[in-house]
């Protein structure tokens, strides 16, 4: 029997308790789990307007998405969050993950981790794709095969390497992993379930089995959806449709929201944060300082002056994170010392430290470049990254490091990091994950997909392997504590700076649970206008 979707799923041999600890057994998901921290970080101002307002039946939820204008609505081959943001309403997933890392059943009535290498999904019966095909075990197996076929260039491909599927019956699918990987289920939460026959057309006319059917996309302007009467829980959907308008400029988008007629704007302008907060305090709107990511400085750990751990430690101690919060983020962010949100049970408070210029200078004196050096920080042409680099330049000047802020297009920075691998220092942001292993695997494993800093530490690799195998929460927490102490403090392989805050503002709708970014898919089936 299908479980209610607001129940957490029983994950099998690790206990029948439905707590996050028992559920959170793996690493994974993929990086643009943007917005995963929002639920936890909703400010008190969110309790003002619309609190307790009744849901209105019908109507179109009309919102503004700023900055990222999608060029494609295909979340299978396009890794950019904009594609999934814009296509989200028409999709559904086997399971959902919330900001705390809890997994919820969705298309899968149940999901059981039989062991660290085997997962069994049992699907809800009678579900159909929007093109009329049945959503069954074979359809999901076909989709997995499509992702694994390299010629399709699905961006989740590497996460599915060596996976085998076994169709047990019409609704039961067993997934066999090539090695212990308790995080795989989180990776699957990134894969919308769609019919393979629709894949070629997803970029322009997305189609899945979600609550809304794609209606129209005027590129650069808006994408709209209408309620799908064939959705498996159609009776729960109160809206007639959803419309997302795209504004490249966050200031203009925020003004358009304030002008009226729009239910939400995400992300709202950081430069208007104080005004928006004041309006929220007056009850005119709600304001959610979503913290979907972390901004970081990545150093080249193999060559150049930053190959010296003393230099990297000196750099992290020199940073004034408060200035980074107050300047580029207009006071709405907070300092970060880890790849995890402080609310995570895997967070290690011992990672936090005060700015210490004297110690930083002493470390520089012990380094191979005691007189300092000249270096460039490659910086994407995004306002807050430029602001962060400017603060870093001032901070590092105090310990003899003469920084040039080299501003490049984001595409050029990514090319420099991943293709040319030509940098010593780069500032960037990545999405926070509710799953501890995700970013640690990417950035700190010697073969990690985002380890552009070429950090190699065999002890850390071994600990990461253990983390993927370990199913006991307490032991796993201890493993990741060791990893974090080595990589964030001793080796300083990765320097977290501040939370990458993208605030949402809304009114006339029930967006209290809006999390921004990828995880916002949770909201679409629940989205309502308030009376």
């Amino acid at each position: 029997m299908a479980k209610k979707e607001d129940e957490k799923v029983n994950i099998g041999p690790w206990g029948n308790s439905l707590s996050r600890r028992n559920v959170l057994i793996g690493a994974g998901g993929v990086a643009t789990l943007a917005g995963v921290g929002l639920l936890a970080s909703c400010s008190s101002s969110t309790k003002t307007a619309d609190a307790g307002a009744e849901a209105k039946v019908g109507g179109t939820l009309d919102g503004i998405m700023t900055q990222q204008i999608p060029s494609s609505l295909d979340p299978f081959t396009n890794a950019q969050g904009a594609a999934l943001n814009a296509a989200g309403p028409c999709h559904d997933w086997l399971e959902w993950v919330d900001t705390k890392g809890d997994l919820y059943p969705s298309l899968a009535a149940s999901a059981t981790q039989d062991d660290a290498k085997t997962i069994t999904y049992v699907l809800n019966s009678g579900v159909k794709f929007q093109n009329g095909e049945a959503v069954n075990a074979q359809a999901v197996a076909d989709l997995f095969a499509w992702v694994m076929d390299k010629k399709n260039a699905a961006w989740l491909n590497s996460r599915f390497d060596g996976v085998k599927t076994e169709v047990v019956d019409e609704l039961t699918l067993k997934v066999h992993l090539p090695k212990p990987d308790v995080a795989f289920r989180y990776a699957v939460t990134r894969l919308p379930i769609a019919a393979v026959s629709t894949m070629a057309a997803q970029a322009l006319t997305p189609s899945g089995c979600g609550p809304y059917k794609f209606d129209r996309w005027v590129q650069g302007s808006y994408v709209s959806y209408t309620k799908d009467p064939g959705y498996r829980n159609a009776a729960d959907i109160t809206l007639d449709g959803i419309k997302m308008e795209h504004f490249a400029d966050a200031n203009a988008g925020t003004q358009a929201f304030l002008a009226g007629g729009k239910n939400w704007v995400y992300p709202s302008s950081l430069s208007q944060a104080k005004d928006l907060k004041a309006r929220a305090d007056k009850g005119e709107i709600k304001y959610l300082p979503a913290e979907p990511g972390v901004c970081y400085l990545l150093n080249n750990c193999k060559t150049g002056p930053t190959a010296d751990p003393n230099v990297r430690k000196a750099i992290r101690l020199a940073f004034d994170r408060k200035a980074m919060v107050d300047g580029p983020f207009n006071g709405v962010s907070r300092p970060f010392f880890s790849m995890l949100k402080p609310e995570s049970s895997y967070y290690v408070p011992e990672l936090e430290y005060e700015r210490n210029i004297d110690e930083a200078k002493a470390l520089m004196a012990k380094s191979k470049t005691p007189k300092g050096f000249k270096e460039k920080i490659y910086t994407p042409n995004v306002d807050y990254f430029i602001g962060l680099s400017t603060v870093m330049k001032a901070n590092l000047a105090e310990i003899g490091i003469d920084i040039t802020v080299e501003i490049e297009e984001t595409a050029a920075v990514i090319n420099r990091m991943f293709v040319k691998k030509d940098f010593n220092m780069v500032v960037l942001g990545d999405a926070l994950s509710p799953e501890v292993s995700e970013l640690h695997e990417y950035y700190l494993r010697s073969t990690g997909g985002r380890n552009c800093g070429k950090y190699v530490n065999k002890a850390v690799d071994k600990l990461l392997d253990e983390g993927l195998r370990e199913i006991d929460d307490a032991k796993r927490i201890a493993i990741y504590k060791q990893i974090q102490m080595i990589t964030m403090l001793d080796d300083t392989a990765f320097i977290p700076l501040v939370g990458e805050v993208l605030p949402a503002a809304y009114k006339g709708s029930n967006f209290d649970e809006f999390a921004g970014g990828f995880i916002q898919y949770i909201i679409w089936p629940k989205a309502k206008l308030t009376a």
């Binding site: 993929v30 990086a31 643009t32 204008i69 060029s71 494609s72 609505l73 295909d74 081959t77 396009n78 890794a79 950019q80 390299k150 010629k151 260039a153 961006w155 989740l156 491909n157 590497s158 970029a203 322009l204 005027v218 590129q219 650069g220 302007s221 808006y222 308008e245 795209h246 504004f247 490249a248 400029d249 200031n251 203009a252 988008g253 003004q255 358009a256 304030l258 002008a259 009226g260 007629g261 490049e408 297009e409 984001t410 595409a411 050029a412 990514i414 090319n415 420099r416 991943f418 293709v419 040319k420 990545d430 990417y442 997909g449 985002r450």
Partner: protein, 313 residues
């Protein structure tokens, strides 16, 4: 006739050189379409397969010949990002940008022609001072600031016009018209500043020319002199400036389109450049270049028509 043939040949040659330049430049700037598509999920093996699929593995010359040949056959290729036919997407966007610019230019002319004439006729008086102050302000304020200011006044404060976004005129013509007012005003106000100054200067110049003095000595009224001699002669340099302004507006449409969330070709091009969507960039910039050259060609030809001496040079 030789004048027209030379102008048209020059225009075609410039379009060809532009195509070569844009094809080279987009490949010279750092960035990789495959890396852009995959973002932080970059995988070298998949990136290689993607590059093959996108036709990026051949030599520069092979790629250029393949592209330009296809363009001559009316095939502009497909977007790297979403697989949509480039010609169709650019066509849709171009129509919208033309709607934006034509409306904006009309507003600009409606402001600048009276402003230039009033200013010239009242040189040194308060009307002249006021108009000059307005044009100085318009020249100093960046268009995106002007756009945000207009949104704040008319949408946020007064709630009389939409703040941005695009409405299909086929769905609701009145709403479309309302949604176009602020972008048109923004384009028009920015354009009117320079044009009205040039018109004012041209009128004042023409007023002091020998032919004006001669006309005056014949006893013609000031109204007749202005109508037959001053305005006609002042229109030639103004027309040149309007032509150039339209060209620059085409190139700068991105700013207005961004502020008003208007899905035009400028927005598309900048987005395509940032995503290294080569077919989209190549075609849209070729369209920009062709548009700019065409507008100026028309102005050159019109200039020759207004002033026969030009044709004889």
């Amino acid at each position: 006739m030789k004048y027209y043939v030379l102008r048209i040949t020059g225009g075609l040659l410039t379009i060809f050189v532009s195509s070569l330049l844009v094809f080279s430049l987009i490949r010279l700037i750092p960035g990789d379409p495959a890396a852009e598509l995959m973002g932080l999920a970059f995988d070298p093996k998949l990136a290689h397969l993607l590059r093959i699929r996108l036709g990026l593995e051949g030599s520069f010359v092979q790629q250029y010949i393949a592209w330009i040949t296809a363009v001559f056959h009316g095939d502009f290729g497909y977007s790297f990002i979403n697989g949509a036919p480039v010609g169709q997407e650019i066509g849709d966007r171009l129509i919208r940008t033309v709607q934006l610019l034509v409306g904006g230019v009309i507003v600009g002319l409606l402001i600048s022609i009276p402003a230039g004439i009033v200013s010239a006729r009242n040189k040194g008086k308060w009307q002249d001072g006021g108009i000059m102050a307005f044009t100085t302000l318009m020249l100093s304020v960046p268009q995106f600031v002007l756009g945000i200011f207009l949104i704040y006044i008319f949408a946020v404060r007064m709630h009389v016009l939409p703040a941005g976004g695009w409405i299909d005129p086929h769905d609701n013509f009145v709403e479309w018209l309302k949604s176009m007012v602020l972008p048109w005003l923004c384009v028009g106000m920015a354009m009117s500043a320079f044009t009205s100054r040039v018109l004012r200067a041209s009128i004042l110049d023409a007023k002091n020319m020998d032919y004006t003095r001669t006309a005056r000595s014949w006893g013609l009224s000031e109204k007749e002199i202005a109508k037959k001699h001053v305005y006609k002669n002042a229109s030639a340099p103004t027309l040149t400036v309007v032509g150039l302004e339209i060209g620059y507006l085409l190139g700068g449409a991105f700013v207005i389109e961004n502020v008003f969330a208007y899905p035009g070709i400028g927005q598309l091009t900048v987005k395509a450049i940032s995503q290294r969507d080569y077919p989209m960039v190549q075609t849209s910039i070729l369209i920009f270049a062709t548009g700019f050259i065409l507008v100026n060609l028309i102005v050159d030809l019109a200039y020759g028509f207004i002033d026969p001496r030009i044709r004889q040079r």
